[in-house]
Structure formats: C-alpha cells, structure tokens
C-alpha cells in the first residue's frame, strides 16, 4: 500500500513539477526576448489540449505501443530515482536500482518509441530517430564519464549512498567534485533536449523529427513523458551534486535552481547541427572529463 501511494505521489509530483517548470521556461524565455510570453500554465493547457483531441491517427499496433512503452519507461525512471533522502516517502523502488541502471532506463523509452516511429513508415521520423541516436552517442560518453567520476569518488553506484555522503553543504558534489559537474552539465542539457542541442525534436521548426507522425492523444502522451522524464533527470542531478533534499520544499528549490542554470545556458546559444553537437561533446566536455580523470586517478597526489 505504501509502495502504491508512494509511486502515485512520485508520478503526480513529477508531472506537476514538469509542466510548471516548462511553463516557467517559456515565460523566462519570453522575458529574455523582451516579450510577455504565455502564462506559467501554458504547458498544462497544451498537454490537456492534446489529451482532449477528439481524433487520433494510428499506423497500427506497434505505432500505438510506442508511446505506451516510452510512458512506461518514464514511470519506471521516475520510480527508480529517489526524490528525498532520509525519508520513507518519495523513494519509489530506488533501493532496487542504481545509477548505471537509471542512466540506461533513460534510454529505454525513447528506443521503444523509435520502434513506433519506424513502424509509421515515415522516413522523416526515422531520420529524426537516427539524429537522436547520434546525439545520444555523443552526449553519453562525457555524461557517463562525469558520473563515473562521481561513482569513483564515492566508490558506489548507489544513488542513496552518494546522497548520504553529502551530509552538509561542504560535502555537496558540486563542491567536492566540481570537474564532474562541469563535465556533465552540457550533456545533461542535451539529455533534456535543451536548446543548443535540440535539433532532434526541434519543437517548432524542423519537420524531420521522431514526432512527425504523432498527433492527438498519442502526442499528449509523448509530451507528458517528456516533462516527467525531465524532472526525473533534474532530481537525479540534484541527488548527485546538490546533496539531495531532506524535504519536499528543498527538493523543489534545488531542482528549480538547477533548472534555472540550464535554462539560462539554453537561452543564449544557437542550435548546433547533430554532428557538430557530437563533435563538440567529444572535444570539450570529454576533454574536460579526461583532465578530470587525470586529476582524480593518475596524478601522484590523487588517492
């Protein structure tokens, strides 16, 4: 019973936080561009509008199951990320998972959806999937290396243990391991499909993308999972680098601070082509990561 309530709470929280954060993002983006922008609820409206579409086109069973897989993947990811530390609540099933598992879970859903995109038979969609996989190939290397530095620092892959080790501000990951944070920051924005790296599912302009064939309520599902997944990733980084959160308010504050940072970075950089993005990830963040590894394990004074 506890597990069920806890899971429902986590899913609900990640959904609400998701649309509020993205509503804020649009508002913030508008203000940076010196316009009023939509209300903070706009993402909720968009999402519900799609859920209330009266018609949905399907290209067969596999096309239908794709968004379901990605949604199940988002639920699973949310449930495997601990939201709070030292608490019985908002833990989901995180005790049965670990950091490497979560990193892989982030990819399960999109790959399931890629099957649906393929089964629609639209070449533009498959083009988008290939772009997505290519970008994933680029971002995952520095992302994993940065998280590897964290795992090495704490000698565990358990998110709980890493959180527990950051018991006060001086022990926060961002202070004890700043290089790792710098390494993962840009790939993290890319996993969020954030602005300089968002050519894959470019929200407004680019025709070719994984969502090209999705409309109606299926698109609503895709939007929902995207928002929930973003929150799961934000909370994960909060757990790893910002010391986790003791209660719900602090969780929102920390996640929001991190979101503000990534949003501010997203806002000021122009979009990269896929191969430029990959090349960038393999040069700058990965290069920084290699320096981090040298500092962490190769130099004589490193433990």
């Amino acid at each position: 019973m506890h597990a069920v309530l806890d899971s429902l709470a986590m899913i609900g929280i990640s959904y609400v936080m998701g649309f509020l954060f993205y509503g804020f993002y649009r508002q913030f983006n508008a203000r940076v561009q010196r316009r009023w922008g939509p209300s903070i609820w706009q993402n909720l409206f968009d999402n519900l509008k799609f859920f209330f579409k009266s018609e949905t086109l399907s290209h067969g069973p596999m096309f239908f199951f794709g968004p379901m897989i990605i949604m199940a993947g988002a639920f699973t990811t949310v449930l495997f990320v601990p939201f709070l530390k030292d608490s019985d609540w908002l833990q989901g099933f995180s005790a049965s998972g670990n950091l490497i598992l979560i990193i892989y879970l982030l990819v399960v859903g999109p790959l399931g959806n890629a099957l649906a995109v393929g089964s629609s038979g639209n070449p533009y969609g498959v083009m988008g999937v290939t772009r997505g996989l290519t970008r994933l190939m680029g971002l995952e290397v520095p992302f994993f290396l940065g998280l590897g530095l964290v795992m090495l620092q704490h000698e565990t892959t358990s998110v709980h243990a890493i959180m527990a080790a950051q018991h006060d501000v001086a022990h926060w990951g961002i202070l004890t391991n700043p290089i790792a944070f710098a390494v993962i920051l840009l790939p993290f924005i890319a996993t969020q499909n954030g602005s300089p790296f968002d050519v894959v599912g470019a929200p407004v302009e680019v025709y070719a993308g994984p969502r090209v064939e999705f409309g109606g309520r299926l698109l609503g599902v895709l939007m929902t999972q995207n928002m929930m997944m973003s929150i799961a990733k934000l909370v994960l980084v909060v757990d790893l680098f910002l010391g986790g959160a003791g209660n719900f308010l602090i969780l929102i504050l920390k996640a929001f601070a991190l979101f503000l940072l990534t949003a501010a970075i997203s806002m000021v950089f122009p979009r990269l082509k896929t191969e430029q993005a990959v090349d960038f990830f393999w040069k700058v963040p990965l290069g920084l990561g290699v320096l981090g590894v040298i500092a962490a394990v190769w130099l004589p004074w490193s433990t």
Partner: protein
C-alpha cells in the same frame, strides 16, 4: 475593427449547406465547457505559406507581436497542428497540398484564411489558375481581411477564433465531415487529374472509427 457576419452573393453558397441541418443544442455541460476552454487556450498553428501573406506570419511570433501570450505557437507538422493558416492566394498546385495538410490534421481543427485573395481572389480575381474562394474547397472558420492584413489583424482573428472555440460552436471541421461530398466535388472540379487518392479522405464516409 470591422466585423461582418453576413455573407454576400455567391459567398453564401457554403452557408446554404447548413440550412437543412438541425441546429444542435448549443448548451454545453460543465465538462464540455472546461474542455472547450482548454482547447482555446492552446492553438498550434500550421502556417501554410502559399502567398505573400506568409511574410506576416513571421513577425507574429517574434517579440513585437508575441502571439505566444495567447497560447499560439507554430507546429512543424500537420499531425500536431490545430489551426491551419492559409496565408494568401492559392494556386491549384498549392490547393492540393493545402487540402492534403488539412486532412492530415487531427480534429478539432480550424482554418484561418488570411488576406483578400482567399475570400474572392483579391488582386488575382481574373487569374487563370488562382483559387478565388477557398471556402468552396476547405471549410474556413475565420477570414482575416486585407491585402495584406497586419499582424494585429491576424491576432484579432485568432482571438475571435478562440472565442468561438470557447463557446463550443460548430466549427468548419464538422461541416467538412458532414458535407464531404460537396467539398470533394468542388475540389475534383478544379484539381481533376491531380486529385489526391481516395484513401486520403474516404474515412470521412466510414465514420472514421478505427
């Protein structure tokens, strides 16, 4: 701003279609009203740049006019769009693509026709290959008059559309579904050989249930 709700001359022809149809009870229940309100809060626009009107669509989204504050934002593909903006005159070639795009949109869907050319041909009134009256081929919900209308006028049109959606009125897509034969006959008359294949619309007859 000038609003005209009555048609004139041959423009009344599509309107005559509705005469035989029973007017539905317009009283909405609370849930329906909520759904209608949500729908009008978020409009994804498929901007179909057929003519010079397309140039008025771009400033609409930028900081000066900022249509996003009304929940209006561009959509890349017809599957995701709610509103089709036909920006300017339609040639036969573009008419075919517009019809295809419209049929690929998911209901509820609306059409805004921009500029005089969509109403009566405008300055192309005697051109040999320009569609004079878009309403004969696609169900237009809102006309925005002018040559060219300013972005403010377009925003006015969007707001008028939002009010209609919020009232839950019968929209163009209902008419298209009910009078598909009339629209298809008109389209076939001008497109002839170029008519899209049957599978693109025959589900309108089948009731559209999978």
């Amino acid at each position: 701003m000038y609003h005209k709700s009555q048609c004139e001359g041959f423009q009344c022809e599509p309107g005559l279609l509705d005469e035989g149809v029973d007017p539905e009870d317009r009283q909405l229940g609370p849930v329906e009203r909520l759904v209608a309100w949500l729908r009008q809060k978020s409009l994804f626009v498929l901007a179909y740049g057929t003519g010079c009107g397309a140039i008025e669509m771009r400033p609409l989204m930028t900081s000066r006019f900022d249509a996003e504050r009304f929940g209006i934002i561009n959509a890349p593909t017809p599957r995701q769009a709610d509103v089709l903006v036909i920006s300017g005159y339609l040639a036969l070639k573009t008419l075919k693509r517009v019809i295809r795009s419209y049929e690929q949109m998911q209901e509820p869907k609306y059409v805004i026709a921009l500029g005089s050319c969509t109403i009566n041909g405008g300055m192309y009134w005697d051109s040999y290959n320009t569609v004079k009256q878009v309403d004969r081929y696609l169900p237009v919900d809102i006309y925005v008059n002018g040559c060219m209308p300013r972005p403010e006028a377009l925003i006015e049109g969007f707001v008028a559309l939002q009010e209609r959606i919020a009232r839950g009125e019968k929209a163009g897509f209902h008419r298209y579904r009910e009078k598909i034969d009339w629209y298809k006959a008109n389209q076939r008359r001008v497109l002839g050989e170029m008519m899209p294949p049957d599978y693109t619309y025959d589900w309108y007859h089948a009731g559209g249930i999978a």
